[in-house]
């Protein structure tokens, strides 16, 4: 009966109570949503590259190597010579190796030279392969495959011409060797979306007339002559390596790190991703803290609502007192009422979260490549809801204690 009366009392103040519950619901939905995005982002981040056992590059730091080879952020301090690359490729414990050559750009996007093997071995989101949304994988020297973001941002479709610029943010363009878009990749949510992919040979081809980073004045080798030349790369920026057996990973890593001819670095992508997440993860924690503050704000709003209702409910409390309710019972009723509001808010918030997820899941996936799984509520979410209810009870103690004092002072007689 107590709970039923509390609910009836809440219904009698439906508008203010409804607003309070809505505020709590939105804050809880926000908090759980941030939590979902956070875990989704973390999972997506960790899934940026999978299936690759080692990434090899010139010796620098592991995060730096990961950043430029996978995320196309920053630059390599040095290249790996073609000879070293061949040496590693020839090792018996290497199952496959994919070279990557970076350094040029198209508009704001990086150009990456690689081989057909890249499309075969690059995996993301638990072993998914790259798929072609439109066109085919390049097979001509001057063909290019572009990521989904590149196509969307620049409005490219298959067969459009592309001119690659030398270096990054550069005005010098490889005008004499235009490329053709042969294929557009599906959205992956990885840096591949923002990459223009060409063959290793193409990288050599566009630099035929270049020396030490500048075009040789007046020299322009015709395209058909270039096609006849030996376009074996002289160096690669990095290489993705798969091992024959996972047991050999560490031995191969050690061997590459101790390679005598050249200072090289081999990293485990998973470990480096963890390291990198440790850096960007601070922002994620801050986001969670902010959304927790929103929940606290909503609960304080509830506290204010209860406070402002106390005066108009003096009569109600006097009736309870006259009927034999103790001041502690009045306190308990207000706390119970707050818990009902917090529980209703939290449940509604959970419902809003799922409605939001159902609507947003395909949009977020295609726009940001972020996959937000829709699962049954986890224990973690149950704890959040329980936490909100408990916090609601604690917060409501402030007005409830005031009501307690009021009902002791008023007794059953209220001067009106």
């Amino acid at each position: 009966m107590t709970l039923r009366l509390a609910i009836a009392s809440l219904f009698a103040r439906a508008l203010t109570v409804g607003m309070t519950i809505l505020a709590i619901a939105l804050s809880v939905a926000l908090f759980l949503g941030v939590e979902k995005v956070r875990t989704g982002a973390k999972a997506s981040f960790a899934d940026t590259i999978s299936g690759t056992d080692l990434i090899v590059g010139a010796r620098s730091g592991s995060v730096q190597l990961l950043l430029y080879s996978v995320f196309r952020i920053g630059n390599a301090t040095n290249n790996v010579t073609w000879e070293s690359y061949q040496d590693i490729a020839a090792r018996p414990d290497v199952d496959w190796i994919v070279p990557i050559s970076l350094g040029d750009s198209h508009r704001q996007f990086r150009v990456m030279g690689t081989t057909q093997a890249f499309f075969e071995h690059y995996k993301y989101r638990q072993g998914r392969s790259l798929g072609v949304a439109d066109g085919v994988i390049m097979d001509d020297l001057f063909d290019t495959v572009i990521g989904a973001d590149v196509a969307a941002t620049l409005g490219y479709s298959v067969d459009d011409p592309i001119i690659v610029a030398h270096g990054l943010a550069s005005f010098t363009e490889h005008k004499d060797q235009p490329f053709r878009v042969s294929g557009i990749l599906e959205k992956t949510g990885t840096p591949v979306d923002r990459t223009v992919i060409v063959s290793m040979e193409a990288i050599e081809a566009i630099h035929v007339d270049w020396q030490s980073g500048a075009q040789i004045p007046g020299q322009s080798t015709p395209v058909d002559v270039i096609r006849g030349m030996d376009l074996t790369p002289k160096a690669v920026t990095a290489a993705l390596v798969g091992v024959e057996s996972p047991l050999q990973t560490f031995a191969l890593q050690r061997a590459i790190n101790q390679y005598p001819e050249e200072p090289l670095l081999a990293i485990l992508p998973g470990v480096a991703l963890q390291e990198l997440w440790g850096i960007v993860g601070i922002a994620e924690t801050a986001l969670l803290a902010v959304s927790a503050m929103v929940v606290v704000t909503a609960l304080i709003g509830m506290m204010a609502t209860i406070f402002s209702s106390l005066n108009e409910r003096r009569r109600e409390m006097a009736i309870f007192r006259a009927m034999g309710a103790r001041p502690a019972t009045i306190l308990g009723m207000l706390v119970l009422e707050a818990m009902v509001m917090a529980a209703a808010g939290a449940m509604l918030g959970l419902a809003l979260l799922y409605i939001g997820l159902i609507i947003a899941q395909p949009i977020v996936d295609s726009a940001f490549g972020l996959w937000l799984p829709i699962d049954a509520p986890t224990l973690r979410e149950a704890w959040v809801i329980l936490g909100v209810i408990c916090a609601g009870a604690i917060v409501s103690l402030v007005p409830a204690l005031r009501a307690y004092r009021m009902s002791v002072a008023d007794g059953m007689i209220v001067k009106t």
Partner: protein, 231 residues
Amino acid sequence: MTPAVLTLSDVGYRWPRRGSFALTVPDFAILEGESVLLLGESGAGKSTLLSLICGTILPDRGSISIAGTELTALSGGKRDRFRAEQIGVIFQQFNLLPFGTVADNILLPLRFAPQRRKRAGNAVAQATDLCAALGLPPDVGRNKANALSVGQQQRVAVARALIGQPPLIIADEPTSALDAGSQAAFLDLLFAQTDAHQTSLLMVSHDARLGDRFDRVIRMEDIAQIERAAA
């Protein structure tokens, strides 16, 4: 001689933080089944006296005894429980929880008084009977309290005070919100019930015209002294 249901002797109370106001009641008693009208102007200490009898405030000295129990010997929580068990209270107006049903309101004191609940037996049936006896429409129990007229609300308050037969009913100007015709009808119903259950009634009013219906009419100044220090 009929035993007293309420006895106050040598009671003194001084309002905290309002040191200028003190109430003393040397001797006052209500017998079992007796109806008493207590007349007094506003400010004559009626509210304080009712609070003392109901045990929401404790006297500084003296003894208050209801149905043989010394109120001043009980703790605050016990006094609240005791009030629920022994006293039915009717206010001037706004007696009911507006969001509750009529049945919720009538059964409300039984929540805090297990013995009174036991006395009531089938509480819902008794509530229905009381409603019928008080001339309330059938099935009124399911209505929201705030859907009733003021006169009907006062009658629901009477039903609530009577349920479980507490020995003492305290009514604080229960008719002042009613017009003259309704007042008479209300008092008829109230007295029919208190007579039927041999319940004592203490009604406070400033309206002396009601006096002839009561066993005894007492003026506030006859039983109590108010002390006001020069402010």
